[in-house]
């Protein structure tokens, strides 16, 4: 079981990875959007890094931490990514976790809730070249890994791998949502920056879980 410490470590890893990939995300967005996805996500990531000590002392409940991150997405990212990632964290934070520790099933449920929230607010689904093309396959892979009785590390690994495949899939399809939709067929061949960010987040979470579980043994 993972607790608040894991979540804060994972948020730190996610933030650092986003900042590290700022240029790459901008570049991906430059081709099919307005080229500021990396800058916007990195601005949010820097705020989260700044917030971490306060979250460590003032928040016990994991739902509250996720809600805090969601509100930061909304206020700091801006554009379309702000409400979409914000909805993901806000909705993920609504799942009921009975104690301060999170079980595998809670993690998968949080991801599922979050993904449904994004689909709802974006009035979108898979195949439209958006972050959902990474998120939905990741949720399905994580559900399957959970059913097979795997632990945190394997579940997150399955999620990260599925998200990676989803990112590859976005290269093959035409955008029908967001700004990229206006360029139509010309969006084919380019990977979606939002889906890429989802993949990065899962990879960071997976790495954090692996480090942690190695330390626990």
């Amino acid at each position: 079981m993972f607790g608040k410490d894991y979540m804060l470590d994972a948020l730190e890893a996610i933030s650092r990875d986003i900042i590290e990939h700022e240029e790459e995300l901008n570049h991906l967005d430059n081709v099919i959007g307005d080229g500021d996805h990396g800058t916007n996500m990195a601005r949010f990531a820097r705020i989260i890094l700044r917030d971490l000590p306060e979250l460590k002392t003032n928040k016990d409940n994991m739902g509250e931490i996720l809600q805090h991150v969601g509100m930061r997405c909304i206020t700091e990212i801006g554009g379309s990514a702000g409400p979409l990632f914000g909805k993901f964290y806000l909705q993920a934070g609504m799942i009921k976790i009975d104690n301060l520790e999170m079980e595998e099933a809670n993690l998968v449920a949080a991801f599922e809730e979050g993904a449904m929230g994004v689909a709802h607010i974006g009035r979108s689904t898979e195949g439209e070249k958006t972050m959902l093309d990474a998120l939905f396959p990741a949720v399905r892979a994580m559900q399957q890994a959970l059913e097979e009785g795997h632990g945190f590390v394997e579940i997150l690994q399955a999620g990260a791998e599925a998200a990676g495949k989803g990112v590859e899939y976005t290269k093959t399809i035409q955008a029908s949502k967001g700004r990229a939709a206006y360029i139509g067929e010309r969006s084919i061949g380019h990977q979606d920056p939002g889906a890429t960010t989802v993949m990065l987040m899962l990879q960071s979470m997976c790495r954090t879980a692996a480090t942690r579980s190695a330390g626990l043994e």
């Binding site: 801006g78 702000g82 909805k87 607010i121 029908s176 206006y182």
Partner: protein, 328 residues
């Protein structure tokens, strides 16, 4: 870049304070943000909220006042306001009758407003929205729909007047949607604007080129061609509108909107041809609005909007309004 500004990072806040100082009898700026509300808030009628990026002045705050908006939410330069700011505005002006958000159809604006509306609903505020997508240069059949352009200003006038009559939330929404059914806009640009933060032009256009159908932030249009004179430009633009919507035997309002870098002189030249052309088509012009109603900083270009009127819409169009920009 030659602009009379101070530090780019303070730009949005300085614009808001400058507008509020100019019309203290009408506007009140909320503390620690750029949200603008009416001095005298409604108590019992539907409140109207609209927002768009900074750089489109006098939109959105110039339309706050009796007969139009209750709150205007400006974002940063060319970006949608964020949900926390929209929520601040909604909370401030909410009434028992509810709040109607008017949204221009850009993905960012739609998502940020949707998120804000969800948060408002969780607080028990009755809130609904109308999305305006008047740009004939973008296709209808795409799932993202058409972009919104300057035509939204006419919708703010109509919906604002209907709200002042005491109509309920559903009714105000339906009237706004009905007016939007008969609303079409097409834009043209001949010079980009420069984004203050990075000093880069918003798009590239050759010295002798223009682009018909370009969006408010330099989004691609339908035709890029050699610069044409006013008559030919307006003719092509009106043809696009009339191909898209049948205005035969209708009475319309014409809005000729400057993007910020095209002088009124040129807009009047355009208007002469617009009147001549529409008369030939048997379209009756009830009124013409000419000016910088929704700009793109110093972008060179303009847009033409037509909105069909019926007797009810005509009365709403003529109804009393007291905002910094539109007074009746």
């Amino acid at each position: 870049m030659k602009k009379f500004i101070n530090e780019p990072e303070n730009l949005e806040a300085e614009v808001a304070r400058g507008m509020a100082l100019a019309k203290p009898g009408i506007l009140r700026q909320l503390p620690d943000c750029n949200v603008m509300v009416r001095q005298k808030l409604k108590t019992d009628r539907v409140a109207l909220v609209f927002g768009c990026g900074c750089g489109h002045e006098p939109a959105p705050s110039g339309y706050v006042g009796y007969g139009m908006l209750d709150a205007a939410i400006p974002g940063k330069i060319f970006s949608s306001p964020t949900p926390d700011m929209i929520l601040k505005g909604i909370r401030e002006v909410q009434t028992e009758a509810g709040v109607l958000c008017i949204i221009v159809n850009y993905t960012g604006d739609v998502l940020n407003f949707r998120m804000a509306m969800e948060l408002a609903q969780m607080e028990g505020i009755a809130v609904d929205s109308v999305v305006i997508a008047d740009d004939v240069a973008t296709q209808k059949n795409k799932s993202v729909g058409r972009r919104g352009l300057a035509g939204v200003v006419l919708i703010l006038k109509i919906a604002g007047a209907e709200a002042e009559m005491g109509t309920d939330l559903y009714g105000v929404k339906k009237v706004a949607e009905w007016a939007a059914c008969g609303l079409r806009t097409v834009g043209v640009a001949c010079r980009p604007c420069v984004i203050p933060a990075d000093g880069e032009p918003s798009f590239e256009l050759g010295e002798r080129e223009m682009e018909i159908g370009m969006g408010l932030h330099g989004e691609p249009g339908v035709v890029r061609c050699e610069m044409m004179n006013a008559r030919e430009t307006a003719r092509q633009m009106l043809e696009l509108i009339l191909l898209d919507c049948n205005y035969e035997n209708s009475e319309v309002v014409v809005l000729i909107n400057g993007l910020g870098g095209t002088p009124l002189m040129e807009l009047y030249v355009i208007n002469e041809f617009v009147h001549e052309y529409l008369a030939e088509q048997g379209i009756v012009i009830y009124d013409t609005m000419i000016g910088n109603y929704m700009t793109s900083m110093e972008m060179g270009g303009f847009s033409i909007s037509l909105m069909r009127l019926d007797p009810h819409l005509k009365a709403l169009y003529d109804a009393v309004a007291a905002t910094p920009v539109i007074r009746r």
